[in-house]
C-alpha cells in the first residue's frame, strides 16, 4: 500500500474508531462494519460516494446453488413450470477448459456495470443506474420492449410473461416488465448484504464478498487489491461492479 493510501486510511480508521466509541460499540476483530459504518439514514439519498460491488471466488464456488435459492426466495421469484419463460435473477454457470478439463462454476447475474448497455438502449429511461452503482429497472415506466435484454452481454435480464401474485412486499414484480438482480437494493439501503452473499457465507462455500469498491478499507477492496479480480467480457469496457477470481 502506498504512503498516500496509508495516510488516508489512518484518517478513516480514526473516524471509524471515534464513531464506535461514541455509540458505545466494542468491535471485536473480524466483525463487519457494514451495518455500523455504511448504513444510510432512511431519508438520505444515495450518492456516488460509494459504489457497491461483489467479488466471487470461483476457487471456493462449487456445485451448489444456495445463492440462486436465496435470491429467488428473497425476491419471490418462483418456478413457472416453463424453463423458457421462468425468470432468472441469478443462475449458476459451468465453464470447462476443453484442453485441461478444468471446470469452473460461478453465479452469473446483473454485473452492475458503470457503463451499462441496458441503460444506453432503454427508450423510456426505465433502465437506469443509481448513484451508488446499482443498475435497476423502474417498472413504473418500463414498457416491456425487451431492448435491454438484447443489449445485455451477460443475459442477465428476464421478462415477466405471466401474471404474478403474492409478491414479496419489498420486491414488486409484474407481468409485461423486465426484471433482473437488484443487488437486493432493499437490503443494501438498510445496511445489509444481498441475500445471495448472506446465504453463500452462512450455508454455502463462503465464495462471495459484498462491499464498497470506493472504500479502500472495505473487505472487497482489500481482497481485490491483494488478489485481483477479473471482469467477464472486460474487452467491452463496461467496468462491472461484479468481479471474479480464478477465471
Amino acid at each position: 500500500m502506498s504512503s498516500n493510501n496509508d495516510s488516508k486510511r489512518s484518517r478513516r480508521t480514526f473516524l471509524k474508531g471515534t464513531a464506535a466509541v461514541a455509540t458505545g460499540l466494542a468491535l471485536a476483530p473480524g466483525v463487519r462494519l457494514l451495518g455500523v459504518a455504511q448504513a444510510k439514514a432512511d431519508d438520505e439519498a444515495v450518492t456516488g460516494a460509494v459504489r457497491w460491488g461483489l467479488l466471487i471466488d470461483t476457487a471456493k464456488c462449487s456445485d451448489c446453488d444456495v445463492c440462486v435459492e436465496a435470491c429467488h426466495a428473497e425476491n419471490g421469484v418462483k418456478d413457472q413450470g416453463d424453463p423458457e419463460t421462468t425468470p432468472q435473477w441469478i443462475r449458476k454457470l459451468m465453464a470447462k477448459d476443453k484442453m485441461t478439463g478444468h471446470v469452473v462454476t460461478l453465479p452469473m447475474m446483473c454485473q452492475h456495470c458503470e457503463h451499462p448497455p441496458c441503460v444506453d438502449v432503454c427508450p423510456t429511461g426505465a433502465s437506469f443506474r443509481r448513484a451508488d452503482g446499482i443498475v435497476l429497472v423502474d417498472r413504473h415506466i418500463c414498457i416491456g420492449c425487451r431492448y435491454c435484454m438484447m443489449a445485455c452481454p451477460y443475459k442477465a435480464r428476464s421478462f415477466e410473461h405471466v401474471d404474478v401474485t403474492d409478491q414479496a412486499p419489498h420486491a414488486p414484480r409484474g407481468k409485461g416488465t423486465v426484471e433482473s438482480c437488484t443487488m437486493c437494493v432493499h437490503r443494501v439501503d438498510k445496511g445489509r448484504e444481498p441475500a445471495c452473499v448472506e446465504a453463500c457465507n452462512s450455508t454455502g462455500q463462503g465464495a462471495m464478498v459484498f462491499g464498497d469498491l470506493k472504500d479502500s478499507t472495505s473487505s472487497i477492496s482489500m481482497a481485490l487489491a491483494e488478489h485481483g479480480g477479473k471482469q467477464i467480457r472486460a474487452d467491452l469496457g463496461l467496468n462491472t461492479g461484479v468481479r471474479y477470481r480464478g477465471i
Binding site: 444510510k40 432512511d42 431519508d43 438520505e44 439519498a45 444515495v46 437506469f128 443509481r130 448513484a131 451508488d132 435497476l136 423502474d138 417498472r139 413504473h140 401474471d163 404474478v164 403474492d166 409478491q167 414479496a168 412486499p169 419489498h170 414488486p172 414484480r173 409484474g174 407481468k175 416488465t177 437494493v185 432493499h186 439501503d189 438498510k190
Partner: protein, 124 residues
C-alpha cells in the same frame, strides 16, 4: 311552435338527467377502518392528493433510495388493510379492500397491484 320546441327541449333534458339521478343512488362505500387514530395527513388532503404523494414518493424511493415511511405505499397498506375475522386479508378486487372500496365507487382503475402485493408486510 315555439312552445312545442321548448317542451321538446325540456323532455330531452329530463331524459338525459335520468341516468344521473340513478347514479346518485349508489351508496357511499363502506370504507374499512385502519389501524391507529390519525393518518399521515388530514383526510381531505389525502383524498385529493394521495396519488401525487404516492408518485412523488415512488420516484424518490426508486431512484434515490429514500425509504422513509410517510407516503409509502407499503405503509398505507400496513395501516389500512386489516385482516378479516378468519385471519386472511381482503382481495384487491373485493370491496372490503381499503383501496378498492373507494376506487370501485369512483370508477377509477388502479394498476399499483399488478406488481405490488396488496396486503400488509407481515402476513398473519
Amino acid at each position: 311552435m315555439r312552445s312545442l320546441t321548448r317542451t321538446l327541449v325540456f323532455a330531452m333534458a329530463a331524459a338525459m338527467l335520468l341516468p344521473l339521478a340513478s347514479l346518485a343512488e349508489v351508496p357511499f362505500p363502506d370504507i374499512p377502518k385502519g389501524k391507529g387514530d390519525q393518518c399521515v395527513a388530514p383526510t381531505d388532503v389525502i383524498r385529493q392528493t394521495h396519488m401525487d404523494l404516492l408518485v412523488h414518493k415512488r420516484d424518490q424511493t426508486m431512484h434515490l433510495g429514500i425509504r422513509t415511511k410517510q407516503y409509502s405505499l407499503r405503509e398505507c397498506l400496513n395501516c389500512h388493510v386489516q385482516a378479516k375475522p378468519d385471519g386472511t386479508y381482503p382481495d384487491i378486487d373485493s370491496k372490503e379492500h381499503f383501496c378498492n372500496a373507494c376506487h370501485s365507487y369512483a370508477a377509477v382503475k388502479i394498476d399499483c397491484f399488478q406488481c405490488h402485493v396488496a396486503r400488509p408486510d407481515d402476513p398473519k
